[in-house]
Point group: C2
Chain length 673, copies 2
């Protein structure tokens, strides 16, 4: 069917969808950068979705029981900005559209969560939105099981492109979704056959439909420019038969642009004045740039109010709940820490001080989680197939599955990236605090999503065990060396490397108190003694503190260390003190938190003068700051750690071989004095 025929077949739809297309063309042209082709290609599908299917109310972007709409192909950001503007989201003014991609506008090049109401998650790095959506759908199932369909009863709709489907993360996401039978997850594939380099056939011949079917998905299809056919497909897709749904939407990128449609020329640059004029002509669209004729705008605004009645009814149901239930529900939708968190941690620390366990911090973490999970139904745990190694599952936790949506532990499978992205989605959905485990070295596999936790400000918790050469025989592929530096280099990321069970409890207290920052808990495989001797306050929250004071107040040496190396520092102190060298030990569970302390405090912990040695079984890069800066000096400091990759062998042999020992530390200190 040619454009004229389509236009005449359904003029109402045509006008609505063309409004999206012209806004996308105009905004990209004004910005002189951006991606017009995707919004133009998917405007018909999006119009049908918003007009007939998506449960939303433009006047209440945060309504909990809305359907979630995720634009995984985030480069097509003008699609969602146009939709938000047209349906009447207050923030999304015409000025914002006119200022697309300009500094200070909310209309960033890619949709940014937190900048724009109606943008459910930050997308741009391909595949992330799709994988976040799996988390949304998991959280919806879990909340519905817990609170009932009266309070939670919605779907997750995703637009994904060929790029999303080529990325490895898509495999992890769709396999997880298929396994978990997330029947309310619907992915609309913008099957336009074009990538940046050219036709998809240049780099791929995957039968995507067969691939999704192999992962347990239901596969539908439609002509992505035929409103009736789209509507038929989405209606069918919305029926939950226990399988997630792929809707193969056959579309044309840059739909209607006479010379650039169906080519990569429509993908990532403005169409240009001439082509835009020709396209307007083809559309039968005569109004000036950025101008939407009133009747069309009025139609769109009515669409924006489609969900008002449903929302009012939902509000009534919430209002009619008993106080306790309503308060509990409201608490779960908020981001405040659990009211009992501090009390639970304090009691746990007292008990720890009494029992003095010598355990790996991964085990200490399990011990903390045992008491936390018993009282905090919002904790949603999991591991990328290392449950027994990460110690992430606690006694009372059922396993989340199609058969048990009340389970609060998820076997994510061998899918670190998919896990991290799903955790982001679970938090974004609301209702849960997700945590998930793998080995610290496999942050490499999860990096793409971990960066987005930080960028979006999502307080998810990464339980990263086996955090050094201390893991031993598995060897250098499994031994993190640069990963603490990587996590510390990432903005808005809290890295916590506790040295014993008390610091581990404090780390969890800190992590579960965050509302806008993800935490990485770096935990040991090997057993560590209890080093803390008091529980008065959360000293870890200061980032660094004096764990052992020098016998003489005027310390000659300050030993700084984290995690499993604090024990080495304490031993080295004994040796140095025995030689009459006054030595202070500073535990540094979190550099980020220490950096935030007032200078006076930092100076009290790290006064100018004493020799400083930092000990960490990792590379030096993040330590220069504390060794050379903060009143330190090059001539009176040293680092004891790793300079390259690790090796395979028993942990004690490795520590000896790499010279990370109390004797080596003491010798270095003595030499510097």
């Amino acid at each position: 069917m040619d454009i004229d025929a389509r236009r005449q077949a359904d003029p109402d739809h045509w006008n609505l969808s063309s409004a999206i297309r012209v806004l996308a063309m105009d905004a990209v042209e004004a910005a002189n950068s951006g991606h017009p082709g995707m919004p133009m290609g998917m405007a018909d599908v999006a119009t049908v979705l918003f007009r007939n299917h998506l449960k939303f109310d433009a006047s209440a972007p945060h309504w909990f029981d809305r359907d979630r709409f995720v634009l995984s192909a985030g480069h097509g950001s003008m699609l969602i900005y146009a939709l938000l503007h047209l349906t009447g989201y207050e923030q999304m003014t015409l000025d914002q559209i006119r200022n697309f991609r300009q500094l200070g506008a909310i209309t960033a090049g890619h949709p940014e969560y937190g900048h724009v109401e109606g943008v459910e998650t930050t997308t741009g790095p391909l595949g992330q939105g799709l994988a976040n959506a799996v988390g949304f759908a998991i959280a919806e199932e879990a909340m519905r099981a817990e609170f009932g369909a009266d309070l939670c009863d919605h779907r997750t709709w995703v637009i994904a492109g060929d790029g999303c489907l080529m990325e490895g993360i898509s495999h992890e996401a769709i396999a997880l979704a298929g396994h978990q039978k997330l029947g309310r997850l619907i992915v609309m594939w913008d099957n336009n056959d074009i990538t940046i380099d050219g036709r998809v056939s240049l780099s791929d011949r995957t039968d995507q439909r067969a691939r999704f079917a192999a992962a347990g998905w239901r596969v539908l299809s439609c002509d992505g420019h035929d409103a009736a056919d789209i509507d038929r497909a989405l209606t069918e897709a919305a029926r939950d038969d226990g399988r997630p749904v792929l809707v193969d939407c056959k579309t044309i990128i840059g739909f209607g642009a006479p010379n650039k449609a169906d080519s990569s020329k429509a993908h990532g640059s403005p169409l240009g004045r001439e082509e835009i004029a020709a396209t307007r002509l083809a559309y039968g669209w005569s109004s000036a740039p950025f101008v939407i004729p009133d009747p069309i705008m009025a139609d769109w605004r009515r669409i924006g109010q489609r969900g008002a009645a449903a929302r009012a009814a939902w509000n009534d149901r919430v209002d009619s709940l008993p106080d306790d239930a309503r308060n509990d529900f409201a608490r779960r939708l908020g981001s405040d820490p659990h009211p009992r968190l501090d009390a639970i941690i304090e009691a746990f620390k007292e008990q720890t001080l009494a029992s003095r366990p010598k355990v790996a911090t991964r085990k200490a973490s399990e011990n903390v989680l045992e008491v936390l999970n018993a009282e905090m139904p919002e904790n949603f745990g999991g591991s990328a197939d290392l449950t027994g190694s990460n110690n992430t599952r606690t006694g009372g936790q059922g396993v989340f599955s199609p058969e048990d949506r009340m389970g609060r532990y998820l076997h994510y499978g061998i899918r670190e990236h998919g896990m991290a992205a799903a955790m982001n989605g679970i938090w974004l959905h609301g209702g849960f605090r997700p945590y998930g485990g793998t080995f610290l070295t496999f942050t490499d596999y999860a990096r793409g999503a971990m960066r987005l936790s930080a960028l979006m400000g999502l307080p998810v918790v990464y339980v990263m065990t086996h955090d050094s050469i201390g893991l031993g025989e598995d060897g250098p592929t499994h031994q993190p060396v640069e990963h603490l530096a990587i996590c510390r280099a990432t903005p808005n990321t809290l890295v916590l490397r506790p040295c014993d069970q008390i610091e581990t409890a404090e780390a969890w207290q800190i992590a579960l108190s965050q509302d806008a920052t993800p935490s990485v808990l770096a935990l040991s495989r090997q057993n560590l003694p209890l080093l803390r001797t008091d529980t008065s306050e959360n000293l870890s929250a200061k980032g660094a503190y004096v764990l052992r004071e020098a016998s003489d107040k005027a310390a000659q040496v300050i030993l700084m260390a984290t995690g499993s190396e604090v024990e080495i520092a304490v031993e080295a102190r004994e040796a140095l003190e025995a030689q009459g060298i006054a030595t202070r030990v500073v535990s540094v569970p979190s550099m980020e938190l220490f950096r935030d302390q007032p200078q006076e405090y930092r100076e009290s912990v790290l006064p100018r003068g004493p020799v400083r040695i930092a000990i960490e079984a990792a590379i030096r890069q993040p330590w220069d700051w504390l060794l050379l800066g903060e009143r330190g000096s090059e001539d009176r400091s040293a680092f004891v750690g790793m300079e390259g990759f690790g090796a395979s062998g028993p942990a004690p042999a490795l520590y000896d071989d790499f010279g990370i020992t109390a004797a080596a530390v003491a010798a270095r200190a003595a030499a510097l004095l």
Copy 2:
């Protein structure tokens, strides 16, 4: 069929495969750590492969035309160690087997490339081996096309487990292999239905056979414990019909262990003395731990010599080549830089100095590649669907495809991780120097494989463009901030961030001269002026050097910068000099190379005394060393760069907004004086 029946059905095979199983059990038991279950489960398949199919000669592990065998499920390392020992690889003595997982032994927990002849690639992080194998198969096709089947005619065999197939990278790898019709790539899937957390059904219900078929693979299957059935399947698999092959080998993990087989208990811990005794009984194996009966060992050693005749014939064919062809072929199999590399670069630099182009360094990189690729057939380029943005394809480069195996440019698709892993495989295979491009921020997606480039010491080249907020409107998801720090934190990784076309040429010269270190070229999107005024030597090779001397020899200020920020430093110097402040500009294209310079040189570039300011549109972490260390001081230094994530907007507006300007630099310097 029960064990006794299997044993009696084919006693020769049984004895050969049981030798692998007992060695695996014994070595893991002696190490008190490791993974016995996988070698026990795949011993039958491996025995048939080595006995009847794999082209190899144990006395010549480096024979170029051998089949490649990749143990992607690297935790089952005892499988390959046992095979190497039994077939007679000289290095793999019984002592090495006895010292499995001990420090200093070549029998590391996971197979490490370079430690052990016969180990073609380092595996352990799941899915990597499978993705490397795609690179092996690409390189084989390309070398065969170029040099003929007389010189290059072999297959790549992979053993992959459920973990490999769940990881996202597997999707990228199998889609790429299917697209490229790599008919000599054969993946034997150890389909044992067990992961660490339990049965596969706990986390996955993917129909792997259908999934591979959807990606264009041929799918076969066999009973993984029936030698005849395995042989039938591998015979069929070895026939190249233009599709890569998946062989679904139904196996039992810990095969034969009466109480632990077919459970995750057999996966990652020693079986224990009692279970081992019971298993030996079940096998009918009576010899002591580590003892292989002579007749069985003799059979295995004969297998190790199976390929001797083929190798001799291949040697004859090589010897009979004309001198030029033989030398050329030999050069291609080596790792020396191209003999014309230096001359090409020098001429290019001269020409650049004359034409003084103001271009983005990504464009400068293309300009260099144009002249390099014209003479260096070993350069094998590609991009993860950003060809026009990464500027990675040069004029004469054909596109590598099933239709043109002489193409030396690969459209990797939107598969950063798969690309990086394939590059590793291409280098490991021999014959090519791979380079591949994406945006610097998407090192996040490729991290897993980039770390392995470094760990294995493979001089592949990552062409990472759009290396800062300078990319502009695409916004914070696409703007690297921590990625230079991440790459610099990674051991054995050369990070090169050139400031103009001359430094870009020098960076390529350095990268293509490496034989054991990968390089990351960080290149700008935005245009940069030519700043270098001489081409006398490769100054970038010193890591940092004086680009502009202070007017007065005794500089009061030293400005250090990299890449696109060097221009800012030069402008700031003008401003400061105009105020009478003697200012030196130091360009720092590579911190790693500067670190390796003699102290005397480093001191000449960064003398004690002057105020130091470092300028880089990225985070500070790697700079503390040069600001506070190297005779610097906290009170007389500052960093002008990024403290958090970027934003969406035109590049100049972003530089202004984040305060990375010449004026800001000059003001900071003046304030510190």
